[in-house]
């Protein structure tokens, strides 16, 4: 299996005469393509709306936009079924939407409102939903990778035939926690798929400056698992590689390391002067915009431009509505401070006490 997975070709999208790249041609139903298209657009429009709200200071703290990388989480998470679980880092807006959390609950979380998915206590980096299998949103680079491995451990323990997907960055791949988790997953044969979203930079540090090798999926060989790469700008390629990995995980408890080559169009967080890359580089990569690529594909298949526009309009409307919803939502009550510290809190006669 390892060699098989390793030899899956790294077919990249090709640019057409207009400079807009096409998603690779695969036999995928138009319906599925439309779903993917819609989800990517919903994420894009959601984050564009969030950006505006950040600039208006309705949102604060860190806010890491996923714009440009949408194909990775949308493609990968489209392969999941109920019972599968997902963890990612702080750049988690897309993953949460793709896992079925509502735009309202996410925007409200960014606003720090009581109606947020984490009751306004988590914030941008900590989107959670138990019912939907969204296990967060983690702000410590690499720290969620063992946690995801533990989720897969539980799935195997119960013999569920489910899997856990964990997304992390090229920068995160250099953390010790990732090494430990991948070794254990490979050793114990856990149904976990490690997806490196290689967007070429961790903050301002390029992969070339953070990793001794730049083809990160090759590290799979150290852990007895398949190492696969995909074009993270081509949602259909992501779907293909992820679904293969998911079925390996579910049928054989075989973990996979899947490296998605992608690109982030925005700064690392909101305050990033971006001196580490050129405007030309960014513009060049915009030609591979995963949304435009899929759109071109759909158009080629003869899909109606007006209907595609409708999808975009709906996405914008959803985002706009989520902003309204969030403005109208209440702040958390002060007593919320005290709840959720413990599942089994202690009597107030004991110390320490939360008094406010």
């Amino acid at each position: 299996m390892k060699s098989d997975a390793n030899t899956i070709s790294k077919k990249m999208a090709r640019a057409d005469e207009n400079g807009v790249a096409h998603a690779s041609k695969r036999v995928t139903s138009t319906e599925k393509m439309l779903e993917l298209y819609s989800m990517m657009l919903r994420i894009r429009r959601f984050e564009e709306a969030a950006l505006v709200q950040y600039q208006k200071q309705a949102i604060g703290g860190f806010c890491h936009l996923y714009i440009g990388q949408e194909a990775v989480c949308v493609g990968a998470l489209s392969c999941l079924e109920k019972g599968d679980k997902v963890l990612t880092a702080y750049r988690d807006h897309g993953h949460a939407l793709a896992m079925g959390l509502t735009a309202d609950s996410l925007m409200a979380e960014l606003f720090g409102k009581a109606t947020g998915c984490s009751k306004g206590k988590g914030g941008s980096m900590h989107f959670f939903d138990k019912e939907k299998g969204m296990m967060g949103g983690n702000g410590i680079v690499g720290s969620h990778v063992p946690v995801a491995t533990g989720s897969a451990f539980a799935q195997k323990y119960r013999n569920e035939k489910k899997c856990t997907l964990v997304f992390f960055g090229d920068g995160a791949a250099q953390q010790g926690a990732v090494h430990e988790a991948m070794n254990i997953a490979g050793l114990w044969r856990l149904p976990v798929i490690f997806i490196i979203e290689n967007n070429r930079y961790g903050m301002g540090t390029s992969v070339e400056r953070s990793s001794a090798i730049i083809e990160l999926h090759q590290r799979a060989a150290s852990y007895n698992m398949a190492g696969v790469t995909c074009n993270g700008m081509d949602v259909l390629d992501v779907v293909e590689k992820t679904s293969a990995a998911v079925s390996m995980a579910k049928s054989l408890n075989a973990p996979t390391l899947l490296e998605a080559k992608t690109y982030r169009y925005r700064g690392h967080s909101m305050s990033d002067p971006e001196k580490y890359r050129t405007r030309e580089e960014i513009e060049g990569e915009k030609k591979n915009d995963p949304i435009l690529m899929l759109k071109a594909d759909l158009m080629e298949r003869g899909y109606d431009a007006a209907k595609l526009q409708q999808i975009d309009d709906d996405a914008k409307a959803e985002a706009a509505k989520s902003v309204e919803f969030s403005h109208a939502s209440p702040e958390p009550e002060l007593h919320e401070l005290e709840t959720d510290v413990y599942a089994n809190p202690w009597d107030k006669s004991l110390l320490p006490r939360v008094e406010f």
Partner: protein
């Protein structure tokens, strides 16, 4: 009552809870085929099989995180740190994830896990292997910190810990593993946040947890001979902390000594003392005296090690100081 070793009490607690609940499993270095580095998990592999008693690679950060993820996904992990010294490589999982996930997720994900293993100095193990790190964990909201000093408490508190739904820092004492004591037959649970009045007295309150409780008790006979009746209180859990039992005692004795094996500066006793001063200000007739480890990394040579740790003489001197102040 059964007269059993502290390690056997822990073993019973784990076995009974595993019997009771299939979600409970034990994971750590050498816990399975080796029966545990300190034999706490003796026979558990044989009894429960490799699905539930699991040897890990030497990857504490990795398997502590696996514990967190398994707990979030419905299991009840008992994670062994071979000693708490090694938890320093795993502390990120404990503080950043275990302690905070319930809160950050707005209540979505509980993290019901127990992290357990021995703490403290065990004799000539040197600076890296002789630490009492409870002060680090006691500081963190989201965690509970439990430190049993007897076989009965070891069993009763560990069973409570495994049934609890929060992340529990369960610090055993390496030196006490072979210590024997009476443990009730049958179901035995000890609640968190209930101090144990080990000995009643009227002249001085000695607060001491884990091994230090025994150091405190070692001074009792001589104190009584000197006409001092000490009341000895073992808080048993450091988070939550039972201040009421101590207050009641101080109202009677008006004098307090704290014995602790961790370092003095920023140690557990600083907080206990501060709480007592603050809640019993008018009751205290003299300043509290703390008997703690000296402010140095643990030296290897026995002579030096003995000088670092709390001992009977230092407890006696402390009690005399608060009583004749």
């Amino acid at each position: 009552m059964q007269l059993i070793e502290y390690r056997e009490a822990l073993n019973q607690a784990i076995a009974e809870e595993m019997e009771r609940d299939d979600r409970v499993f034990l994971m750590g270095e050498e816990v399975a085929e080796y029966d545990g580095a300190y034999k706490v998990s003796k026979g558990l592999l044989q009894r429960f099989g490799p699905r539930r008693v699991i040897d890990t690679p030497i990857s504490e950060n990795g398997f502590a995180g696996i514990g967190v993820g398994a707990a979030m996904n419905g299991l009840k992990p008992v994670i062994e740190m071979m000693t708490w010294n090694f938890s320093l490589v795993a502390i990120d999982q404990i503080i950043s994830n275990a302690a905070k996930t319930l809160y950050m997720s707005g209540g979505h994900f509980k993290v019901p896990m127990v992290i357990r293993g021995p703490g403290g100095a065990a004799g000539k193990l040197g600076a890296q292997h002789s630490q009492s790190l409870e002060a680090l964990y006691m500081h963190i909201p989201g965690l509970k910190v439990v430190m049993p000093a007897t076989p009965a408490d070891a069993k009763g508190l560990l069973k409570t810990a495994i049934r609890d739904e929060d992340p529990i820092i369960f610090i055993e004492s390496e030196v006490l593993y072979k210590f024997k004591g009476e443990v009730p037959e049958g179901e035995h649970l000890v609640p968190f946040g209930k101090a144990d009045v080990v000995r009643t007295g009227k002249d001085v309150t000695i607060v001491a947890h884990s091994r230090a409780r025994h150091t405190a008790m070692s001074a009792v006979e001589q104190l009584v001979a000197a006409g001092i009746e000490p009341e000895v209180i073992d808080p048993r859990t450091l988070r939550p902390f039972d201040i009421e039992t101590i207050k009641a005692s101080v109202a009677k004795t008006h004098r307090v000594v704290i014995v602790e094996e961790d370092w003095y500066w920023g140690g557990v006793g600083a907080q206990i003392a501060e709480s007592i001063y603050s809640e019993c200000f008018d009751e205290l007739d003299s300043p509290i005296v703390r008997v703690a480890s000296l402010d140095v990394p643990m030296p290897y040579a026995s002579k030096l090690e003995h000088a670092v740790l709390p001992n009977t003489e230092r407890v006696l001197a402390a009690v005399k100081k608060v009583c004749y102040a």
